[in-house]
Amino acid sequence: MQAADSFIIDDYDQAIELFYERGWTDGLPVVLPTRRLVDEMLASCGRDRHESLGAIPPEGGKATIEKLAINAVMGGCRPEHFPVVLAAIQASLAPEHNLNGVLQTTHMCSPLVIVNGPISRELKFNSRDGVFGNGYRSNAAVGRAVRLAFWNLGRAFPWGTDKSTMSHPSEYAFCIAEEEEDNPWEPLHVERGCPPGSDAVTVFACEGPHSVFCYGTPDEMLYVLADSMCSLGSNNLHLGGGQILVILNPLNAEEFAKRGWSKEEVRRYLWEHARRRLSDIRACGVVVTQFHEQFPAGLRYDVQNSKTRVPVTSRPEDIHIVVAGGRSYFAAVLPGWGGPGGLAVTAQIKRPLT
């Protein structure tokens, strides 16, 4: 090993402070990536430590298995979490996700990692009550490992090239799992082409969850969801196109299914009804109107008619529906970045051969 890849220090407190001094942490203390912990993680995954998954923008630091293992240890991961981190990094580097833009935009989107498959239960990812919150190591550690890899290898920093004017706490960690057992529908990763029973992650750049009081009959739930999805100010409306995520809790999904609604029918209905008049959007001002007209791919309607109702996404399939959270009266909507990208990408998790 080259000397520049590591250093020797004996004082724990000094080591923690050194990570701050050198700008190697996101603002929170880290688990010190000792050689022993990193080697343990590398040994468990069975991959060449020099293999690179690509370059993390904007600085283009190579996402080698070794550097990712170091950042995963720092984020609190155990070796069994590492394949999930690797899949999330792989997905986020797909061109349609446009990580370069996601990490530097003025918007407040951030890549959300959604875990699917048996690995979710095995590693105790939280998919139920408090799904976006704290208290679960797997959600927290995988989410933070991904962000630390972006931080240390991409190096888009606030007041530097990370131009997000508001941002939100997801820049520390943003990882959930879909509830697959208490769910009448096909899980997200299977819907997106992965075999049933496989493990996968989907990354999607979005805002934090917006609470939606969502309870009752399908008609009532759809009414409030559609209205929440197309609130003015959302990039999905103003920067035409992009994608949006709807989180239904298991009770919502059960109510839909009991009354014969498939996920596809819910999605279609929301696309047909989550719309705003063009005149409402134009009333927001010159800048957003101009942005809106810069993305003609999303404009599948008569732009000369101010009564035209603009859909929140260009296509129904750009509305992602995930079942998660507690059985209750709350759903959530997570608007995306809009036309510039941050689109959902799914990657299968490669478990090490045993």
Partner: protein
């Protein structure tokens, strides 16, 4: 204890900058249009060309939020100065 470093070493390559301009008039400036604010970019182009006598070469990025294609970067590098970003 041995601690592993989570970042790559910074590049120490010395970058050679173009000679600084002493006069804008008749200089060749590449103006990178990030395709996000056409009126603002056009206004800047007009200021540079009409008032300061700059020969502006406007290069349009296909998508403002993604990196410029290599050919566009090479084209910009041929100018004396390149404006690579403008803020609202």
């Amino acid at each position: 204890m041995e601690i592993m470093i989570p970042v790559w070493a910074q590049s120490t390559a010395v970058q050679v900058n173009n000679k600084q301009l002493t006069d804008l008039r008749n200089s060749r400036i590449a103006l990178l249009d990030d395709n996000l604010d056409e009126p603002f970019t056009s206004h800047l182009e007009k200021l540079l060309s009409k008032i300061h006598g700059v020969i502006v070469e406007r290069l349009v990025k296909p998508l403002g939020s993604a990196p410029s294609p290599k050919t566009l970067i090479e084209q910009a590098a041929k100018a004396e100065v390149a404006i690579v970003g403008i803020g609202l």
